[in-house]
Each structure stands twice: as structure tokens, then as C-alpha cells.
């Protein structure tokens, strides 16, 4: 397989420099852009496998870059943003970004996010969804509708199952509250975020050893949930 291509849209030269060093070292071909406009040109001409977009660009809103990119491309997008700007992250994710990282971040975290995004490939591509997932002592088989914890089958209610299946479909990536509500309860339930709190608690109680210190079903405050895969 050829080296995967990354386009980094980030205005800070120092951050671009360390990203280039880290990603090149990991076998990526890196192309850089310092503005949203250049980023869109790079993304169009380099045929990237993944795009990393900083939300605080000087020329356009990072969210705008995502929306424009999504008009013609399903390439995985990871956004970089500061902590404390959860609404911006949610907006970027709802605009079509696949995942986010809060600055400052370690390269390890970034590489993990990129691996997940690359594995999922194009968003919404049904072939990219793996139907089985094994993480720690949790085994999920969507094809056979079976969930095992430490080898023992766990019974889930239909809603609990749908919720878990949605998280499995996006395994490793953050899924926003709105996205989960829409996929599990339908478009009319987008504001009923307390449904999620109640059913996530049910799921954790059945799947986690200690629901208050979860290993698999993680909460990203203000953003959504993430099913850990590694």
C-alpha cells in the first residue's frame, strides 16, 4: 500500500513543523496549508486519505472549510481545537468532521485518532463498517446480534442494542449527542439528550465492571460519546 497522504490545514508554523516531523516519521506523506483557502486547494489536488483542520484559521472558520470539503469529498477529517470550546467542536462534527483533538495533544493521541479515521474510511460507506468488535473482555457481533462480556452473553433491550450498535458503527470515533439521538430515537428526539444519559447508564451497568470508571463507553463532556477500540 502506498504511503497515506495527509493534508494539514493549520496556521501556526510551529505546529505544522512538529506535525510534519511526527507524521512523516510514521510513514505519512504530509502536505501543509496555512489558510482555509489553501487547505481546500491542497485537499482538491493531493487526493488525501485524511485531512487535519485547525478550527482557528485566520481567513475562514474551520467549520466553513469542513462544509466546503464535504460538498465533494468523503475524506476523513480530524479537527484541532482548544479545550473549553465544546460548542465549536460539536458544530464542526455536525458539519461533517469525523473526530477532534483538543490542543495541546500528544502525537500518540493524534495517531490513534488517525488510525481510527482511516479504518473507517469514507463516512457512511457500509463496507467500511466492521460487524464484529473485540476490545478487552467485551465482544460485540452485530451480524449475530450478540454481546459478550467475559465470554458470557449479555441481554440488551432493543434501544440499548441500537445505541450500542450505533457506537460500534463509529467505533473509536466520537459520536455527538445529536447524531446518536437521531440514529437511535429518530430526528424528533434530537433535543432529548437525557435519553442518552439514562440509556448509557444502562449500557455501562451491563458492559462495564465499574460504570463510574468506564473502560469502553467513554463520555466526552459537552460533545458526545466514544466507544474505545484500543
Amino acid at each position: 500500500m502506498a504511503e497515506p497522504v495527509v493534508v494539514v490545514v493549520e496556521d501556526e508554523p510551529q505546529i505544522r513543523k512538529f506535525l510534519r516531523a511526527a507524521l512523516t516519521g510514521q510513514g505519512y506523506r504530509v502536505f501543509e496549508a496555512g489558510t482555509g483557502a489553501d487547505g481546500l486547494i491542497e485537499a482538491a489536488s493531493r487526493q488525501p486519505d485524511i485531512v487535519i483542520v485547525d478550527l482557528g484559521l485566520p481567513d475562514v472558520d474551520g467549520r466553513e472549510v469542513i462544509t466546503r470539503l464535504r460538498e465533494w469529498s468523503a475524506v476523513p477529517i480530524i479537527v484541532l481545537s482548544a479545550r473549553g470550546q465544546e460548542p465549536d467542536k460539536v458544530a464542526a462534527l455536525d458539519a461533517g468532521a469525523d473526530d477532534y483533538l483538543s490542543k495541546p495533544f500528544g502525537v500518540g493521541e493524534l495517531l490513534a485518532r488517525m488510525r481510527v479515521a482511516l479504518r473507517h474510511g469514507a463516512r457512511g460507506d457500509p463496507e467500511s463498517v466492521e460487524s464484529t468488535l473485540t476490545v478487552g473482555d467485551l465482544q460485540i457481533d452485530l451480524g449475530r446480534r450478540r454481546v459478550l462480556v467475559q465470554g458470557a452473553e449479555v441481554h440488551l433491550t432493543p434501544i440499548e442494542y441500537r445505541l450500542l450498535a450505533t457506537l460500534v458503527k463509529h467505533a473509536g470515533k466520537v459520536v455527538t449527542h445529536r447524531q446518536l439521538l437521531r440514529e437511535v430515537w429518530g430526528p424528533n428526539a434530537e433535543d432529548q439528550s437525557h435519553y442518552l444519559r439514562v440509556y448509557m447508564a444502562h449500557l455501562r451497568r451491563k458492559l462495564e465492571t465499574n460504570p463510574a470508571q468506564p473502560r469502553y463507553l467513554l463520555t466526552e463532556a459537552g460533545v458526545g460519546y466514544r466507544l474505545l477500540t484500543e
Binding site: R204, P214, T219
Partner: protein, 498 residues
């Protein structure tokens, strides 16, 4: 002016009475004594019925004396010309008596009303002295002036952009013209409006409120009867009230300014303390990072791998520490500037505790963290991002001030009205009596390792209070300290379909 007919009736009746008495005395007394009888009647009429009736009584008395007691009797004719002189003198004396009596009466009445005004002024001054705040003062002044002068009253104070803002408690409506008169009064420091030479067409009389440092506003008085303020002493009296009000307003202003100055000083002190704290706390990790990295750059391959690894790890750790400091500074600034917006939703404490633990992450690796969160715990309305920050700050505080390897326990409980979260450690505890001080800004305990900015727990307090909750710390009997905070549950739990 209407004529008081009954008083004139009384004047006639009293002259008749005096005539009756004189008739009885006539056989035994001189004419001069009879005249005394009449003068007595005039005095009584003057005292009780005022000037008009007493003048009538004087004239009638002379006539009655002439008709009944001066020969030839029962005619106005006079036989002895000397009697004409007597009549003239009697008439003059009668007029003088009635005038004097009436004037004394009027002076007594004026003295009474002055006394009442003085008492009213005294009452107002006393109330004003024991009151703070401009608006409270104005309410009192309005009430008193309105009662004493039977008027609608408005006070106009200079507001923003050089306009006057009216303060009347709703009883006094000002149109643009009236406001113009008030502004003229304020600017020229002279009374104007109703009853004055300046702009007399106005519906109210306006007086400037002048305090020692200059004009503080204007007072508008619209009497129930348009003429009731015409008397000079009324105007004078009103000016006294206006002066008292002006003094009180200035006093309140001065008090406000003094307290503002105190707040500014306090803010300045905090800012200085923040600056020195921040510059120290930011420089320490920066010094470590710069030192470590330049060591690696300049020594190159002479460093062994282990040293190089250690230096790089300290660069990473100090970077993370800087990040936490900056995060806390931002959070504090947001709290203090009032820019913090709570995004409250129904959340599960279990979830928020889990999120906080995973965010502190690796640094808790060598700790035994126990969580006791009952499954029956209700959802709690909160801003999850901020409450997660509260937990993270308390946990980081525990990491900082308790020995490595010591356990941490997190317990959540709830009643119908509030949820409580407790984070307990097994460290050295807080110095006795400092349980409340730890929440003050820039308070720092004695830590062996990392020093913070002393903001973490202050932020916790800000966030918890913004939620309407309470946060406190208590030393535990077996050693260690527990940080507790409550979050109120005000509404009924939301319903869940499915």
C-alpha cells in the same frame, strides 16, 4: 373670594348685644363707659370673624351709639357737635383694634404653620440621615415634600449622556417642555416654572438641588392648588427642603464613591497578586522546558539515553502543567467577567465522574480510586463540562497535596432536592481553621511537588455557586480531607420514552 355671610351676621348680633348691655347700663354710667362696651364687642368680632365683619361692627357700633344713647334719641341727628368728634375717634379706634387683632391672629396662624413645617423638615432630615443609597433617599424626600406641600413631586438627576432622568415614583409625568424647564433650572441653578418670573407657564415649580460641590439635580413640585405656593414663605420653605435633599444626595454620592474607590483598590490588589502569581507559575515550567531542551541540543550525543529520556519527559510534563495553568486562568477570567454561560442539561453524575477520572487519566495510575455512585441516583441539572472541571480540579488538588499511592474516594448521594458529591483523600488534611480559606483565590497549601496558581478550588467554588450549590471542605476524623459540593435539583425528573 366669597363673602362669609354668617360672620357678618355675628357682627350685627354682637353689636345688638353690646347695645342691649349699654341700654341696661345707661341710667347708671357715663357715655364713655358705654363706648367701652361697644369696643369690647368689636374686639370679639375681630378675634373670631376677621377684618370685614369687625369693620362692619365698628361702623354699626358708632351708628347704634348715636341712635340710642346720644340725644336726640332714636335719630341719627346729633345735638352736641362734640359728639361727632367722639364718633370719629370711636370709629378710628374700632378700625385700629380690628386691624391689630386680625394681624395678631394671622401671625399666630403663620407661626403655627411654620412650626409644623419645621417639624416636617426635621422629620425628613432625620429619616434622610439614617438612610443609605440615592434611590432610598429620593423615595423619602419625595414622600415628605409631597405631604408637606400637598403636591406631586419629581426629582431629576443627571444621568448618562448629560440628560436628566426623572425619579417620581410614578405620580409625576413629565413632558418634553417640563423637562426643558427642569434642565434650565439645573443648568442655571435658579428656580423657574410655576409662580416664578422664568417660564411661568410650566405646570410645576422647579428648584435647583444645590449641594456644596455643585448642583446635583432639580426638584419639581406641582401643587394641587396652583396658587398654594405663591406666598414667599412657602417658596422659602420649599427651598429649605430642596437644600436638605441636595445635601443628602451628595452625601450618598460621596459614600458610593468611597466604596467604589475601595473596590477599585481591592481589584487592583488582586490584579497585582494575580500578575505576580501568574508570572511566577508560567515561568517555572517554561524555565524547565527551555533548560531541558537546550541541554539536549547542546550536549547532543554526549547525553546517555536515560538522561535524554528523562529530560524529554520533564519537558512533556511541564508542558501539560502549563496547559492546566492556562486553562485555570482562562476559566477564572471567564467566571470573574461574568462571561460564563451555564449550559444546563440533565446529566448523570456517574457519567461526569467517569469523564473527570478519565481526563485526569494517567496521573491517577498509582492511586486506588474508589467510586461509590448508586445506580438509583437521579439525573441532575448541570453544565457537564464545568462540573467535570470541578471534579478534575479537586482530583488534581488531591494529587498535589497527598502522598503518592494514597487512596482517593468519590461518593455521590442525592435527595429530592440536591445531589452531593464527596471527594475524600487520605492526605495530611487541612490546617485547622483553614477549611474555608482553600477556596479563596491564590490560596496555596504547602505542597512538596507541583505548585499551582491557587485558582483550582476558587474556580470550583465559582462553578458550584453558579449552579446554586455549595462547596466546602472538612477534615476527616481518620486523617485526610473531604471536599464536598452540592448541586440543587429544582425540577421534576424528565421522562424517558422507550
Amino acid at each position: 373670594m366669597s363673602i362669609d355671610w354668617p360672620s357678618y351676621g355675628w357682627a350685627i348680633a354682637l353689636v345688638a348685644l353690646a347695645t342691649g348691655a349699654a341700654w341696661l347700663m345707661f341710667p347708671f354710667f357715663e357715655l364713655a363707659d358705654l363706648i367701652m362696651m361697644y369696643l369690647l364687642g368689636i374686639v370679639v368680632v375681630a378675634m373670631r370673624h376677621g377684618r370685614g365683619p369687625s369693620l362692619l361692627a365698628s361702623v354699626l357700633s358708632v351708628a347704634a351709639l348715636d341712635v340710642f344713647f346720644v340725644p336726640p334719641f332714636f335719630t341719627f341727628a346729633v345735638s352736641d357737635a362734640r359728639h361727632l368728634f367722639t364718633f370719629a375717634v370711636m370709629l378710628v379706634v374700632g378700625f385700629v383694634i380690628s386691624n391689630l387683632t386680625v394681624r395678631i391672629q394671622a401671625q399666630a396662624a403663620a407661626a403655627r404653620s411654620r412650626e409644623a413645617r419645621t417639624a416636617a423638615l426635621y422629620a425628613m432630615s432625620r429619616e434622610l440621615t439614617s438612610t443609605r443609597g440615592v434611590h432610598e433617599l429620593l423615595t423619602i424626600a419625595l414622600r415628605h415634600v409631597s405631604e408637606v406641600f400637598k403636591s406631586q413631586v419629581v426629582v431629576l438627576l443627571p444621568g448618562a449622556d448629560r440628560g436628566l432622568s426623572a425619579w417620581s415614583g410614578g405620580q409625576f409625568q413629565l413632558d418634553a417642555n417640563e423637562l426643558g424647564v427642569a434642565r434650565w433650572v439645573y443648568e442655571h441653578r435658579q428656580p423657574a416654572g410655576l409662580g416664578t418670573a422664568t417660564l411661568p407657564g410650566a405646570s410645576a415649580l422647579y428648584l435647583p438641588l444645590i449641594a456644596p460641590r455643585g448642583p446635583v439635580g432639580a426638584l419639581g413640585v406641582r401643587p394641587g392648588d396652583r396658587h398654594s405656593l405663591d406666598a414667599p414663605d412657602q417658596l422659602h420653605q420649599l427651598e429649605t427642603f430642596a437644600n436638605q435633599t441636595a445635601l443628602a444626595i451628595e452625601r450618598a454620592r460621596l459614600a458610593d464613591e468611597a466604596s467604589d474607590a475601595k473596590i477599585r483598590m481591592e481589584t487592583e490588589r488582586l490584579r497585582n497578586s494575580l500578575l505576580s502569581s501568574v508570572s511566577h507559575d508560567l515561568r517555572t515550567p517554561l524555565a524547565t522546558i527551555t533548560g531541558a531542551v537546550s541541554t539536549i541540543l547542546e550536549n547532543g550525543s554526549r547525553l546517555d539515553d536515560r538522561t535524554r529520556q528523562e529530560l524529554l519527559e520533564s519537558v512533556r510534563d511541564e508542558g501539560e502543567r502549563l496547559n492546566r495553568l492556562v486553562q485555570n486562568l482562562l476559566e477564572m477570567t471567564r467566571l470573574e467577567s461574568g462571561a460564563l454561560q451555564l449550559r444546563k442539561e440533565w446529566h448523570s453524575l456517574e457519567e461526569v465522574i467517569g469523564a473527570a477520572l478519565s481526563r485526569v487519566g494517567k496521573r491517577l495510575a498509582n492511586r486506588r480510586v474508589t467510586t461509590r455512585v448508586p445506580p438509583s441516583l437521579p439525573l441532575v441539572p448541570m453544565d457537564d463540562v464545568l462540573v467535570e472541571q470541578v471534579l478534575v480540579n479537586i482530583l488534581e488538588n488531591a494529587l498535589k497535596y497527598t502522598p503518592p499511592g494514597s487512596p482517593i474516594e468519590i461518593i455521590a448521594t442525592a435527595t429530592d432536592r440536591a445531589a452531593t458529591v464527596e471527594v475524600a483523600d487520605r492526605g495530611p488534611g487541612l490546617p485547622h481553621g483553614e477549611e474555608d480559606k482553600v477556596f479563596e483565590k491564590f490560596y496555596r497549601g504547602r505542597a512538596d511537588g507541583e505548585r499551582g496558581a491557587g485558582l483550582g478550588l476558587a474556580i470550583c467554588q465559582g462553578v458550584v455557586r453558579a449552579h446554586g450549590g455549595r462547596i466546602w471542605a472538612q477534615n476527616l476524623p481518620g486523617g485526610g480531607v473531604a471536599f464536598l459540593f452540592t448541586l440543587p435539583i429544582t425540577d421534576a425528573q424528565p421522562t424517558v420514552d422507550g
